[in-house]
Assembly symmetry: C2
Homo-oligomer: 204 residues x 2
DNA sequence: TTGAGACTATACCGGTCGGTATACTGCAAT
DNA sequence: ATTGCAGTATACCGACCGGTATAGTCTCAA
C-alpha cells in the first residue's frame, strides 16, 4: 500500500483491463477500484486511451523482465532455456487469473493496424521473438530467426488455445513440438543410427 | 441482393463485428449498414447478444465448409491435405479484409469462460481440431490427437501473429514447422534411402 | 375492399460512456 | 498565517448504448 496515486490507478486499471477486457471496463469502474476520483485519474492520465497505453507499456516491461527471470531460474544453457520457456508458460497458464495474453487480447479489441494500442501490442511480440531468437542463436541453431518465429507460433497458439479452453494441456503439447523443432534446427550432426526400435513395419 | 431481411441484417452485422470488433459495433451502425430499422432488427434478433451468437454460429458453419472445400481442392491424400491446410490459411491471411480469427477475437472480447460467446468460440476450435485429427488419423500418425493439437497450435499462432503484424510470413513458417512435426509423427519407419510417395526431403 | 403482416419512420426510454466544472479538504513549506 | 498543491466530492455535459412504443406505409391475398 505504499503506492503513489498514479500507480494505484494504473494497477487497478490493469487488473480490470486484463480480467474483463479494455472496452468492457469503464472509467468509473477504474475510479471505484482505485478508491479515488475521476478528477485525479484525469490529472495523471489525460484520457482513457493514455491509460490503456500506460497499462500495455508497463505490462510489456514487467512481463518480459519477469519471464526472463523465471526462465533463468529454471535453466542455465541456451537449449534448456528454450525448453524452460514452455514450462514457464505452462505455469503462467495454470494460475486462475489467467485470461490469455493481454497483447493478443488488446490487438483483437483494437483490430486496426494503425491504432496505437495495436502497435504497442505488436511491438511486444517483436521483443519477445527477438528474445527467443537470441537464445536460439546462442544454442547454435542453423537459423535462429526461423526457429524463434516457429517457437513463438507455438507459444502464441498455446496461449490462445488455453484461453479458449482451460486445462487443455496446450503448453505441454507445445513443448513436445518445440523439442522436435529445436532438435531439427540444431547445427549438430543428427545421429541417425539410433534405436529404430526393431523392424515393426507398419502398413501404409 | 436476393437476401431476406434477416440475412441482410446478419450479413451487415457480421462484417462490422469482424472488421471493428463486437463491442465496438453498435446496433445503430448495424441498422444503418443493413439499410433497415431497429424495429426490424429486434424482430428477428431479440437482443444484440442473439445477433452476436448468430454471427458466430454462421461463421462457424461457413468457414469450416469453405475451408474443407479449399483443402480438398488443393490435395487428395491425407498428408498433402494436412500440408494444404497451411496454404489455405496463408491465402486467407493475404486478403486485405483479414482481421484474424473471429473466434479468437470474440473470446478475447468476452473472456469469461461461462459466456455463451466464449463457449461458441471454443467449440469452433474443437471442431477444427477434430477435423485435423481426422486427417492425421488417415495419414497414419502415431498419435493423431497429439499431432492435431500441435498443428492447431501452429495455425492459431500463425493467425495471431499475422493479425499483429501483416505480411510476416507466419503461415509459411508454420508450414515448415508442420512438415517436421508431420514427418516425425509418421508411424512409417524413417528410411532415408526410400523415396516416399510424394515428398522430397525438404530439409537437411 | 378490407385486412393482415412485413417493414419503415421516428421519437423516446433509462443507463452508461468518456470527460469536465466547481468547490472543498488536508497538509506541508514558506 | 498564508499560500500552494495533492487529492476529494459531486454534479454535470453531450453522446451514445441497447432496447421499446407508437404510428404509418406497402403489398398481397381473401
Amino acid at each position: 500500500m505504499t503506492l503513489t496515486l498514479p500507480e494505484k490507478i494504473l494497477q487497478a486499471a490493469s487488473e480490470l483491463f486484463y480480467s474483463q477486457g479494455i472496452r468492457a471496463t469503464g472509467v468509473d469502474a477504474i475510479v471505484k477500484a482505485a478508491n479515488t476520483t475521476k478528477m485525479s485519474l484525469y490529472k495523471y492520465f489525460p484520457s482513457k486511451d493514455d491509460l490503456v497505453l500506460a497499462f500495455l507499456r508497463k505490462r510489456d516491461e514487467d512481463f518480459r523482465v519477469w519471464f526472463a527471470g523465471q526462465v533463468d531460474a529454471k535453466a542455465d544453457t541456451p537449449k534448456t532455456k528454450l525448453l524452460a520457456i514452455f514450462d514457464v508458460i505452462g505455469e503462467w497458464m495454470a494460475i486462475p487469473e489467467f485470461r490469455g495474453c493481454a497483447f493478443i487480447n488488446a490487438a483483437a479489441e483494437f483490430p486496426l493496424e494503425g491504432n496505437p494500442v495495436h502497435q504497442v501490442s505488436a511491438e511486444f511480440y517483436e521483443h519477445f521473438r527477438s528474445y527467443i531468437a537470441d537464445l536460439a542463436g546462442q544454442y547454435g541453431s542453423k537459423s535462429p530467426e526461423t526457429l524463434a518465429l516457429q517457437l513463438s507460433l507455438l507459444i502464441e497458439g498455446a496461449i490462445v488455445s488455453e484461453q479458449m479452453k482451460r486445462h487443455s494441456g496446450a503448453a505441454g503439447q507445445a513443448k513436445q513440438a518445440a523439442i522436435i523443432l529445436i532438435e531439427g534446427s540444431s547445427s549438430h550432426i543428427p545421429d541417425i543410427s539410433l534405436p529404430t526400435n526393431d523392424s515393426r513395419r507398419s502398413d501404409e
